[in-house]
């Protein structure tokens, strides 16, 4: 199988290297990833400046682009054909709840799905002491399962793996996105020149403990697998909004 690997932590990130190592034993692997960390860039694409590609190791390329750019370039400029599967990760830190919107890791998988390629975003649920080899083994297991199955049209998979030994994991749980609760903080500081600046992104105050969500699965020691959709239309509300806009201009 031809596997395209990418991430948003950068081409030298251990999570990516763990995937490259494990899949290189059995498959054709091509890595195209950002040359530096590009977390929280969302589904940014680069249309207004030139993109560069640099070979940094065998079958491994670094780009100045976003994670989504890397998927685009990997397929169209490097492989020049579609891979059988795209794996984005292993991300240092979870991507659950509304965080999937900000995540470059998830956006890279979404970009692959837009091209009709079975795609997965994989994240490890910790902030330090990451057990990447365990998470890579689990990813391999997931690929074993999905490689002979059909990805449902216009979907891709968002995987979150608890940071515990793979032997202690409770199994897979197919989930929906949960809801993280943020505080409203913005941190105001003054620089040495006396000018105010800000840090945003307050700390998470936790999440809704709801059965069937990604947060719940990980809390229970299970691998969370959430099917995400490509179509942002909220079809359920079209009927109601039609009643609002019945009137003429």
């Amino acid at each position: 199988m031809l596997i395209l690997l990418t991430n948003d932590d950068g081409v030298h990130s251990e999570g990516l290297l763990a995937l490259r190592e494990i899949f290189a034993k059995t498959d054709d692997v091509c890595v195209v990833a950002p040359e530096r960390e590009r977390t929280c860039v969302g589904h940014a694409i680069t249309l207004h400046k030139p993109l560069r590609i640099k070979k940094v190791a065998n079958n491994t390329y670094a780009s100045n682009g976003s994670p989504a750019d890397c998927v685009y370039l990997g397929i169209r400029a490097i492989l020049k054909k579609k891979p059988d599967i795209i794996i984005s990760g292993i991300n240092k830190g979870p991507n659950m709840g509304q965080d999937v919107n900000y995540s470059g890791t998830v956006a890279a998988a979404k970009e692959g799905a837009f091209l009709g390629i079975p795609s997965l975003a994989v994240s490890i649920c910790a902030r330090e002491k990451f057990l990447f080899n365990d998470a890579a083994l689990i990813t391999q297991r997931i690929i074993d399962i999905v490689k002979n199955k059909t990805f449902i049209d216009s979907t891709f998979l968002n995987v979150n793996i608890p940071n515990i030994s793979h032997k202690k994991l409770h199994g897979f749980m197919v989930t929906k996105l949960g809801k993280r609760i943020y505080n409203d903080e913005v941190f105001e500081r003054v620089d040495p020149r006396g000018v105010t600046y800000y840090w945003i992104g307050g700390n998470s105050e936790g999440y809704e403990h709801k059965l069937g969500t990604d947060f719940y699965a990980v809390e229970k020691g299970s691998v969370s697998i959430t099917p995400l959709g490509l179509d942002m239309t909220h079809t359920g509300s079209i009927k109601t909004y039609k009643t609002y806009f019945r009137r003429s201009l």
Copy 2:
């Protein structure tokens, strides 16, 4: 009403200024927008560098952050309360089909919706000779309609306005996202130092002509209003994916 305006074309963009002008006559308006063009940045947020805010005119602030950052800062650092409504735009160019994923304009409205604020992204469907005043009038009409209605939970509105005189518009059409068809191009160039670089984002080859889509509405001279959802979970496929992952680790 307190209205927060933002965009991804930058604080000096005519589309934004047209909205400020029209709403300042009747409402309290606060503008917080990127200091420079930030198109296609998707739902990027800035966690790893300090954000700056600069007052550039009365109730008008420029920031070095992304459109989503501007919404965050506007509410938490400038207004210090929630506005009644957020309008992101008027974007120079359409945001329809899968393009909504890449759009900073749409992401800013999504960020507002995450905070529970009625939010709209507004775009004008042209590449030049924009009729911003007509589109601003239409936006005012839409706000008139929605201000006494309830936004459906976890939704926001993506508005695309044909670039014709408001008198010639056919009316509103509540739509779903259509599908743009891209070609697969990547443009390879060589710089004066002999190093290869790339331009991505091939030209659009058109779109699927489907009744009920945003593309269809605009083609017919109607204002397209698409309700977008905040939850990316593809609930319809959970059952099938559960059958894939039934087995143990």
